[in-house]
Symmetry: C2
Subunit: 343 residues, 2 copies
């Protein structure tokens, strides 16, 4: 691979001149510049980004550290980030923390010298630990995580208000005995959604200890909740799952037990995964614009990189939108799946 010195030698100039010519800085005559460019072409020279970033102290790259997320959520968030990053000529270095705390530290450490800033989503990490890992000198924006005391900017989804709104809607739709299927215990999103549910039940319907079934965001745990509901004779006229995946499993489980949705029991989810509108009946849910989460965070990071100082005060909270569909008796059959004339 040709280096800058090769180019300089070929063009009969010094490395400094070659560098200036290539980077379009001033103080280079047209003919010299042409000679350098000819050499570049001839030798197929491509600047070595690693070396360049060493002196410039800029890598034009942002590190993205996500938990072990699969599926739509993962790809949407990346897409949102990439959309903005690409416009600013930034690259994305992916780091996956694969669950363990130790890996998180490693992932963050590995970023030093490779990135100009960090986008981190540590759903179940304690703020103190995070503070240890993060380099205070490295601009960082948190995804869906309010680190409170750390004073780091973040973008988050208002899970509490979303859950509150959905619970309210279920109650308004005539439900009295609403059961919640919770997400993983240590997961912040899950906890906030549960809080929203509990508060709404209390304030809107005056119910103090609403029924809550355990879950872990997986389809299977939704199905498990269905059998608990049916076998346990738990009275319920509506079930609000903490995410769509569980709602899907729940619906399948209820159907197996002969329960009709929304006839016997209404069902609602959270997230609005693409599958939601294709189910039959289609799934009512809270729509979270995941790509916006990514793009907003990236825009904040760019602002910091441009010199602005952003703290947790400049956080952005995205409010999810209520999408009423078939499983709560909303729109029964939408254009997308009128395949079946069902019960």
């Amino acid at each position: 691979m040709a280096t800058l010195r090769d180019v300089a030698r070929e063009a009969g100039v010094s490395v400094a001149t070659a560098s200036r010519a290539i980077n379009g800085l001033g103080n280079v005559t047209a003919p010299t510049k042409a000679a350098v460019m000819a050499a570049v072409k001839k030798l197929n020279f491509v600047p070595h980004s690693g070396a360049r970033s060493l002196t410039r102290k800029k890598t034009d790259t942002v590190g993205v550290i996500l938990p072990d997320l699969f599926g739509e959520f993962f790809s949407e968030i990346i897409r949102g980030i990439d959309l903005v990053a690409h416009e600013s000529g930034m690259h994305l270095l992916l780091g996956n923390m694969h669950g363990s705390t130790h890996e998180t530290a490693a992932a963050i450490a590995a970023m030093r010298g490779r990135v100009d800033g960090l986008l981190v989503m540590p759903p179940d990490l304690k703020p103190e630990l995070l503070a240890d890992y993060l380099d205070p000198a490295l601009p960082t924006v948190l995804l869906n995580y309010d680190a409170g005391s750390l004073d780091l900017p973040f973008v988050a989804v208002d899970n509490y208000r979303g859950a509150y709104a959905m619970t309210e809607a279920l109650l308004a739709g005539g439900a009295r005995q609403v059961v919640h299927i919770a997400g993983p215990k240590h997961n912040r999103d899950a906890r906030d959604r549960q809080r929203g549910f509990v508060d709404a039940m209390n304030r809107v319907a005056g119910i103090r200890n609403p029924a809550i079934l355990p879950g872990d965001f997986s389809e299977e745990s939704g199905a498990k909740a269905a059998s608990l509901l049916v076998q346990g004779q738990l009275p319920a006229d509506a079930v609000f799952a903490a995410n769509d995946q569980m709602a899907v499993g729940l619906i399948a489980g209820l159907a197996k037990a002969g329960k009709s949705v929304p006839g016997d029991v209404m069902v609602a989810g959270f997230d609005d995964i693409p599958l939601a509108r294709h189910l039959n009946p289609s799934l009512s849910t809270m729509q979270v614009k995941i790509d916006q989460l990514g793009s907003t965070a990236m825009m904040m990071l760019l602002r910091i990189l441009r010199g602005e100082t952003l703290g947790s005060a400049s956080a952005t909270i995205l409010t999810p939108a209520l999408i009423a569909r078939g499983t709560t008796g909303g729109a029964r059959a939408t254009a997308a799946q009128p395949m079946t004339a069902n019960s």
Copy 2:
């Protein structure tokens, strides 16, 4: 941020010794090593990966250049790659070519000096162009692309045989007038699938010019095909869409026109997106294990990085599996969505 020299000074040793101690190389006494490590801890030293890779000529990073892919396909392929990369301590640098040829060149060029190898998926790029862009010295594995003359290793899906098999299955299932909805004209996958369809129709059923409707892999184009079918009075007892997305749109469109699936017409797709099994009736399709595409490619790249020489001869071809479900009259209602007792 502390540098190695800071650590060396703090520990009272030379940079060389500090470096050796930190990297666990030999020739360092236990006490010296301890002193260095203490300094590391005290100064919060984290090695600057950029500088390190400059001398080592190794970045422990692979560049992944994908087209503008959204959704499941994107995340699955990344997941497959990451799974293998992570095991080998490799990082992923994402490059998106966002459609244009020019961007592809830029994306590849930007990788120089940042990565040890490249994973590229250039679905609609001419091999000659690709050759111009790629650095022959940089180990490269192509995703879902046979560059033929270029002698680059690649991992691909056998779209031809997949389409052939599905067409065969439709015919075996009693269909006579099978219509194909094609993908984008310039897309290789789409072309191969179309070829498989045409050949199967010819060889198995003796039909020379089977009906083919245009499409572009989008749900909308599937819906459009549905109205063409219905309005155009095109006789069809089965429709084979070049991908699942179009099949989904097609099914919705057919339903709107009052056609029942699979009663009036069977439908088949390609890819086995997660949605496929949740439709009602569930969608018959060719299952492509997208994550395998990524992980296999990454494994090949690792072999090259370890010194092996791999050419196009060592390509891996993944054969999709036929999944017969409801839309071809296979399994009518599966456990996942027996919500409806439909026509």
